[in-house]
């Protein structure tokens, strides 16, 4: 999450909202955000794990979501996916957002 915070201005400049998502409670996440000085919201999929399941990254054994990054455009379409340790580096997501910011949305 630190790397995303470090590059938050880049995401802002491409009209992009960044969310961190985990199965932690909002209380745990607030502490975590405070520790790291995060300015973007962290979302808590702690009740049903329905989002990590919907996104296909739920680890049954551990009861958590695997590391992954999804870039979604203004039409709600997935434009980029990073899975595993490569998702720690926000560079690819940034590049995608850069391209998207130069593209016109089809949603009125």
């Amino acid at each position: 999450m630190k790397a995303y915070q470090a590059d938050i201005a880049k995401f802002d400049s491409t009209d992009t909202q960044v969310f961190g998502v985990s199965v932690d409670s909002p209380y745990a996440n607030r502490e975590f955000a405070k520790q790291l000085g995060l300015t973007f919201p962290l979302l808590s999929d702690f009740q049903k794990r329905s989002v990590v399941k919907d996104y296909g990254i739920f680890n049954e054994e551990g009861g958590y979501g695997n590391r992954a990054t999804f870039v979604i455009d203004k039409d709600g379409i997935i434009q980029h996916i990073d899975e595993g340790n490569v998702a720690i580096d926000p560079t690819a997501a940034e590049d995608t957002c850069n391209i998207l910011s130069h593209k016109k949305t089809t949603t009125p």
């Binding site: 999450m1 630190k2 995303y4 995401f11 491409t14 009209d15 992009t16 909202q17 960044v18 969310f19 998502v21 985990s22 932690d24 909002p26 745990a28 996440n29 502490e31 975590f32 520790q35 995060l38 919201p41 962290l42 979302l43 808590s44 999929d45 329905s50 989002v51 919907d54 996104y55 296909g56 990254i57 739920f58 680890n59 054994e61 551990g62 958590y64 979501g65 590391r67 992954a68 990054t69 999804f70 870039v71 979604i72 455009d73 203004k74 039409d75 709600g76 379409i77 997935i78 434009q79 980029h80 996916i81 899975e83 998702a87 720690i88 926000p90 997501a93 957002c97 998207l100 949603t107």
Partner: protein
């Protein structure tokens, strides 16, 4: 003599059966670690919608909930899934 030959054939048959039944040495299967789940979502597909509570506290002192589809037509969204709070990355 006939009896001896007979028992020889019998022994031979028994031996060949024993050989046939010995399973070929099989390499011990390496225990594969449980595969990490991979998303079945693909680029070009609609992102599943959701509403989730967040770390952001609203003016009313309550946690703000975010709905993905609220950003439609407004902003791109990056969802950075992490394993657990207080872990690296």
């Amino acid at each position: 003599m006939i009896k001896k030959a007979f028992s020889f054939v019998f022994l031979l048959a028994a031996a060949s059966i024993a050989v046939a039944q010995t399973p070929p040495p099989s390499p011990t299967p390496a225990k594969a670690p449980p595969a990490a789940p991979h998303t079945n979502l693909k680029v070009g597909q609609a992102a599943p919608d959701f509403t989730l509570p967040s770390t952001i506290v609203g003016a009313d002192g309550r946690g703000v909930r975010y709905k993905l589809s609220d950003f439609k037509g407004k902003k791109n969204v990056v969802l950075a899934f992490y394993v657990f709070a207080f872990t690296g990355g």
